[in-house]
């Protein structure tokens, strides 16, 4: 446990934090200076933010599932912390995906929300991740909590194909995967592609920094719980050793 805290509080997380700040700043800057597109005017700039944020919401679930498998196999607490940290940060990015998608949807489709399958399934993913956080908070610390969170993560990973293939399955109005098209250049202008790729890197680095920090907070919370328990035990022992009770340990 202390090993994780040391590594988490070293220079690497600080570097990751600065890198994410610079990269996200560069993404936003590049998105703002790009010329506006003919079809979507100013709103096309959202391509630098929305697809990368959506990408991270997927990455978070995959990373959580990998951490879950490692936790079940090795029983190391650090993997449990990585698991819940990734689920929580994933919930934040899923909410951001919905928010940015909604902002983009208003001028493009004329409504803030439509029952597009990809939007709907992303909203369901958010509900599942919120459920993960609620479940985690309800469970007492320990090995059992790690096992429950791990199985939850693996089951959530199984839902991802439903999200991913929902566009093809339900014939959505959502734009098909721009980058996976036979010729990406026909779907998005190259300056926008550049901004989007920078966004992918920037938000992935930001996600990594947030996960490291969240895992560190989890470790500190576990330490605080142990400390409180130790103090409570010491206080009960001290009560037993009081002047009115010379025989400690006798109830």
């Amino acid at each position: 446990m202390s090993e994780t805290r040391r590594s988490s509080s070293g220079r690497a997380p600080a570097l990751l934090g600065w890198a994410s700040l610079v990269l996200v700043g560069a993404t936003v800057g590049l998105g703002l200076v790009l010329p506006k597109s003919a079809e979507q005017a100013e709103y096309s700039r959202l391509i630098a933010i929305h697809p990368p944020v959506a990408w991270v919401s997927y990455v978070a679930v995959v990373v959580a599932a990998i951490a879950a498998i490692a936790c079940l196999l090795t029983r190391r607490a650090s993997f449990d912390r990585l698991n819940i940290a990734s689920l929580e940060v994933g919930a934040v990015f899923t909410a951001l995906t919905l928010a940015t998608g909604s902002i983009w949807s208003r001028p493009t489709w004329g409504v803030w929300w439509r029952w597009d399958p990809r939007l709907t399934t992303e909203a369901l993913l958010l509900a599942v991740l919120v459920g993960a956080v609620a479940l985690r908070r309800a469970l007492p610390p320990g090995r059992g909590r790690a096992v429950v969170t791990s199985v939850f993560s693996l089951a959530t990973l199984g839902l991802l194909p439903l999200v991913h293939f929902s566009v093809e399955l339900w014939r959505s109005q959502h734009q098909r995967g721009t980058l996976l098209a036979p010729d990406p250049a026909t779907n998005a202008d190259s300056p926008y592609l550049g901004a989007m790729f920078l966004g992918f890197v920037a938000f992935t680095v930001l996600y990594s920094w947030m996960v490291v920090q969240r895992a560190r907070i989890e470790a500190l919370e576990e330490d605080a719980d142990e400390l409180m328990l130790g103090r409570a035990i010491a206080e009960r022992r001290a009560e037993g050793l009081g002047p009115s009770d010379p025989a400690p340990g006798v109830a």
Binding site: L72, A127, V128, A134, V148, V151, G158, L169
Partner: protein, 222 residues
């Protein structure tokens, strides 16, 4: 494993038959839901008939929550949980037994609800084979997922409020696929139901695999 599953399912179904919670509470609840839908949507406007497949599966989904809660509530009293842990029964068998008992109850409930929507909503229940297959696959998915999340929340003081939050978003694909497949059955369009039946089967397989491998550690450690 199968013998253990049969033992656990038999035990759960015997409890339900004797306590009659399913017949006296869950079934009337689902019928009340059907009536409430009819009150909310004007029965004469045609909306009710068009929405019947979705309303049927919402009623089943809500009832499956009650059945899952009930399945674990009977294990919460009198130290039954420790009894299950120490019983020496195969964990995969335990999962199959619990899920199987929930599925059996849901299938009976669905049969009665089908009669209910036929009478109350005037839905024409054509293509019986397709309807039965839809009900079977969807029920396996609902029972499997419900049992997986039920054991996760097992023993928690907040399980009554937590379980719906865990289960309902996860079961939304079943609701969607089962509704579309049900619609296809009513319209006698078996081709349209194929991909939806695939979704239902994939969902059921996913949660049965997770349950068979995860139930033991979840029961032991949680």
């Amino acid at each position: 494993m199968w013998a253990d599953a049969g033992l656990v399912a038999g035990k759960d179904l015997r409890i339900e038959l004797r306590s009659r919670v399913g017949i006296n509470q869950v079934l009337p609840f689902s019928l009340v839901v059907l009536v409430l839908f009819a009150l909310a949507l004007d029965p004469d406007s045609g909306t009710l008939d068009a929405a019947a497949p979705g309303l049927f599966w919402v009623a089943v989904l809500l009832s499956s929550l009650l059945a899952t809660q009930r399945s674990f509530a009977v294990e919460a009293a009198d130290g039954n949980r420790d009894g299950l842990r120490m019983s020496g029964l195969d964990p995969a068998g335990l999962f199959l037994g619990k899920a199987g008992a929930v599925a059996a109850q849901l299938l009976v409930l669905e049969a009665l609800l089908l009669v209910g929507i036929s009478l109350l909503y005037g839905t024409d229940l054509a293509s019986f084979g397709l309807l039965a297959l839809t009900c079977l696959l969807a029920t396996l998915g609902l029972a499997g997922a419900g049992t997986v999340y039920g054991v996760m929340a097992f023993g928690l003081r907040v399980r009554e409020t937590l379980l719906p939050l865990l289960v309902l978003p996860v079961m939304a694909p079943v609701l969607l696929a089962a509704t579309r497949s049900f619609e296809a059955a009513i319209e006698r369009d078996a081709g349209a139901a194929t991909s939806w039946l695939g979704v239902l089967a994939a969902f059921a397989v996913l949660y049965f695999v997770v349950g068979m491998f995860g139930f033991g550690p979840l029961l032991e450690e949680a």
